[in-house]
Amino acid sequence: MAYITDYEYYQNSGTIPTDANWGSYQFLSLADIVNNFMLMYQGNHELINNIDRYQILFHAKRGIQELNYDAMKEIKILQLDITNQLRFVLPPDYVNWVRISQFRDGTLYPLSENIQTNWSSAYLQDNDSNVLFDQNGKALRPQDSELDLNQMSATAKSIYLNSSSPYNNSEGWCVDGNWYFDYAVGARFGLNTETANSNPTFTINKQSGVINFSNILGSSSVVLEYVSDGMAGGIDSEIHLNKLFEEYIYAYVKYSILNTRVGITEYVVNRARKDKSSLLRNAKIRLSNIHPGRLLMNMRGQNKWIK
């Protein structure tokens, strides 16, 4: 990010959107990273020479992607209404989720993941359970499996927890906030902690790119907190990196190149690797914002009575 005037910063020089430059100083653009690297780290008298710019670009982007996955804490948040199939379509830049919450009546209710699957593919079968095929030999598939239909209709059972109710610990259906139960006949099984929650649960179907919910109120929406890879939808001019990681990204690119080049002595590669690793640690510590003021606030909590 180039140096800009206060007017450019606060008002974007009067151009809409006027908030385009807010907070921009904390970031370094991809163009700056590539340019600085080509200028400072490659040349006739440097460790790296005769390198193509696209190789620098590739490694710089890969470094930014890696940082976005776990080090940078650049959480993206998206609120959407779920579809009538109780599904939330993953955003286009989704890589992994951090937290999923239900937004209902002005409050965020964090939801828990149900690792029991609630979706499946299926084949059409005849009465003898033989799989049916088309003329090309491909198995015929229904649009939705029974498991899918079960999930979409919110007819999956869950455990009802309410110690003051005679139905406590019973399996039932939660539909639009009301619970329905079978007659209490037959065996009981242990509590399923994944579904023993008055809030809906979710399962992520990565292949289909959706989050499936057990049930959810029609009037509520879902808030997804997730991490992306920082590639800004492929728009290079919008890719940026926190300045705390600047030295690290140069070290990362340098190491990535030296590590794959012919004729580089091992100690040089090792030096670059250690350089990269230590700079990553430094950057993480810096980003964690540990400073006396914060520690003091935390330490003051030691005298708090836990009831």
Partner: protein, 322 residues
């Protein structure tokens, strides 16, 4: 380096002991050959010096040999906009094909203007050959500023002129171009680019360009453009780089062939005349005169079959290379 001085010295050496006579035509041939030989040698010398520097065998300051070599090479540096095929061919020809200059020795880099501010056709010549007038656009609203680039084609050559003044919303003034009258007629197609938005296009090998274009992370775009070279044509990527003057080349050209010229004979000898149209001095620095003379003498020694001349020149070159 004055060509007459060189010729006089060469003739003095060649005529010593009446070895022989060199005609102006032969001298010009040998002069061209020797100059090319030395010119190409600069690049190898430069590389050798860099190797020495990395081995700590070369110093700085007055001992910085590579600096001197770079300065000589830079005297042949040229920066020109390239003509793309749309201006020379009609039909559905790819317009991202730019014709390379015919006199280049080494293309150092290609630059791309990435932000076009305005484009159109001039509507008048008010203000003369340095005025760009178009009543159909608003240069001020488009953000045209002093220093921006106004491109057009005149007599089949692309000119990138620099805006010197924004006179009004429909009129600009540009700096004049030496040796050419660029904006003298109505109806000239032009493009105006922001001088602040210029990036380097990277040369990509033919063996890599297909994979590069298919790469998600590194596919060429307007921020990181690329080009390949097909014979004397540069193909720009992405293909949206196709406007007049948008693609410029910064290259090292070949030195012009030296020409010792004369108009008349005096006492049977051609009389030197520097006013002839094809007169051309050597373009190498004066410091290279001894070695240049030695190289010419080598060729002359072969022509007049004088081993002594050849040996003298060979020894002089060997000494210089030490």
């Amino acid at each position: 380096m004055p060509i007459n001085d060189v010729r006089n010295t060469v003739l003095a050496i060649a005529n010593k002991n009446n070895y022989g006579y060199i005609s102006p035509a032969d001298f010009n041939l040998y002069a061209k050959q020797a100059q090319l030989d030395m010119f190409e040698d600069y690049f190898y010398q430069y590389n050798n010096q860099l190797v020495k520097e990395n081995l700590r065998q070369s110093g700085t300051g007055y001992a910085d040999i590579s600096k001197g070599l770079a300065e000589v090479i830079d005297t042949f540096y040229v920066n020109i906009p390239l003509l793309n095929s749309a201006t020379t061919q009609v039909g559905d020809i790819q317009t991202n094909l730019y014709t390379l200059p015919s006199n280049y020795y080494l293309i150092n880099k290609m630059m791309v203007y990435t932000k076009e501010l305005a484009a159109g056709i001039t509507t008048s010549t008010n203000g003369g050959a340095v005025a760009v007038n178009d009543t159909t656009v608003d240069f001020i609203a488009a953000g045209v500023q002093v220093g921006d680039i106004a491109s057009t084609i005149t007599n089949g050559v692309v000119y990138n002129t620099v805006v010197s003044s924004v006179v009004s919303a429909t009129s600009l003034l540009v700096f004049s171009t030496s040796g050419a009258t660029v904006w003298s007629s109505v109806g000239k197609t032009y493009n105006i680019y922001s001088a602040n938005y210029i990036v380097e296009a990277e040369r990509v090998a033919q063996s890599k360009i297909t994979m590069l274009n298919n790469s998600v992370l590194t596919k060429p775009n307007i921020g990181y453009p690329a080009y390949t070279q097909n014979a004397l044509v540069a193909e720009a990527y992405p293909i949206t780089i196709n406007n007049i003057g948008q693609f410029t080349s910064q290259y090292v050209r070949y030195p012009n062939p030296p020409r010792w010229t004369y108009a008349q004979l005096l006492g049977g000898e051609p009389l030197f005349d520097a006013t002839q149209a094809d007169y051309q001095d050597f373009e190498l620095p004066l410091s290279d005169e001894p070695i240049l003379i030695a190289k010419i003498c080598q060729y002359i020694g072969v022509e007049i079959r004088e081993q002594a001349v050849y040996d003298f020149a060979k020894a002089a070159i060997a000494e210089d290379n030490q």
